[in-house]
Chain length 298, copies 2
Amino acid sequence: MNKIVECVPNFSEGRDRQKVEKIADLFRGREKVKLLDYSNDADHNRSVVTVVGEPEALKTAVIEAIGKAVELIDLQRHQGQHPRMGAADVVPFIPIKNVTMNEAVALSKEVAEAVAERYNLPVYLYEKSASASHRENLANVRRGEFEGLVEKMKKQEWKPDFGPTEPHPTAGAVAIGARMPLVAYNVNLGTNNLEIAEAISRKVRHIGGGLRFCKAMGVALHDRGITQVSMNLTDYTKTAIYRAHEMVRMEAKRYGVPVVGGEVIGLVPMEALIDSAAYYLGLENFSVNQVLETKLME
Amino acid sequence: MNKIVECVPNFSEGRDRQKVEKIADLFRGREKVKLLDYSNDADHNRSVVTVVGEPEALKTAVIEAIGKAVELIDLQRHQGQHPRMGAADVVPFIPIKNVTMNEAVALSKEVAEAVAERYNLPVYLYEKSASASHRENLANVRRGEFEGLVEKMKKQEWKPDFGPTEPHPTAGAVAIGARMPLVAYNVNLGTNNLEIAEAISRKVRHIGGGLRFCKAMGVALHDRGITQVSMNLTDYTKTAIYRAHEMVRMEAKRYGVPVVGGEVIGLVPMEALIDSAAYYLGLENFSVNQVLETKLME
């Protein structure tokens, strides 16, 4: 694959395995589309698919999968812990290789237009694809959930970007957009004092005056008797992992607390880690084209 | 490609581009073989091919390329700065993915046996494939070069592992073996005093009591007025890049000399860099299967 986009659609079905399989099947056996992972969570009653592909092939697969979710999932009977507003709930496109963010945004809009027309489904564009700043944050778009959609859509500021101005009776509405890959990076602190982890988190994160593309919160790891600064780096090309690491370390010094470990949760783009290696090893002019695996994928 | 082996054959022709192309052609247009790079050096009168592939497919291609080199290159007329003993001079196999070192050794021996029989070419096994410890080091195997082969082969300790006990009249002999990927990593020092770079190199490298899989020498970067500890890490899975980096830094402290940069030369396996990132970021239980690109290559 020359150009690669990732898509991580979330569907509001996490209990009926047959339905989840039927949706996942739409990503199987296709040229230039590769299903990397899918998992379902019964408590959340939700499943998450991770798929990559060339833009056009991926587009076709995602449109069909959204259609299958509209067909199989009935939000009027849906209960689960996770907030949701649609059968296909949220569909982010993530540029991975030889694809710009603008191209990913364009792709998300093509999918949005197609599913609105084909399935009579209201679509909100979010994140980098949002048509207004108050629609960028998914939590705002989804506030009120499926049950609140009828009233929400009557307001001009929540008119859908595509499709009808009332929710699909069983499938609700879907949020579609483009975003950068998320890096979930946690730094462990050698203290069981959650207040310290929380204080550090507040300083490191964007809203507290910290790093621009960093969300953070303090978490207690009760089993180990330690705490953690749990971070989401929303643009690793601008807020690098090493910078988040060093900033946590810097703030921890004030409390005499050591950094005792860390973890990356889930998938991480190679470049995010190699950038950190290059920083610590002091590499000048290093290019990912020098990585053997980059050559293998060409 | 599921199993991947790299091969970096060196051929004793760096001036006649047509001959180099004819050899490189044997790695083109094959299923499960990918030519990554090839370059020729007129001063050395030598060319280096970098190719990866699945073991069986790669074997066939390498055997044919060695045959083409035997056909086209006449060592009796060869002059160049680089030591050489054969038309195909040295052919290392390097395990990259889902291949053990033992498998790479077995592959090198199959190629050795085939080219000895097919082209009546004497073969020395070297590095991990060597039949005796004095044959592991390529410099020992090649000492005396093409011109010294007749006498060398008369000695029992230099009887070829495969093929006749006298050199091929025009193609000499070839060294074939398996080895780990080399990582060429240089650390720049904020001093123009070459003696300091040399002293640090002696302490960091294996023969001086340093790291087991590290070769090192001091180099002056005249243009920049600085010096460098230039290293070859011959097994990055055991002597990690970060460890070499920290050891240079540690020794440099004694002279009050700062580390001011560094570089990786040529290709480097992803894992070698990610291992260093994981060290500095303090990652617990990180797996390369969490790297998106690993999933893409599956």
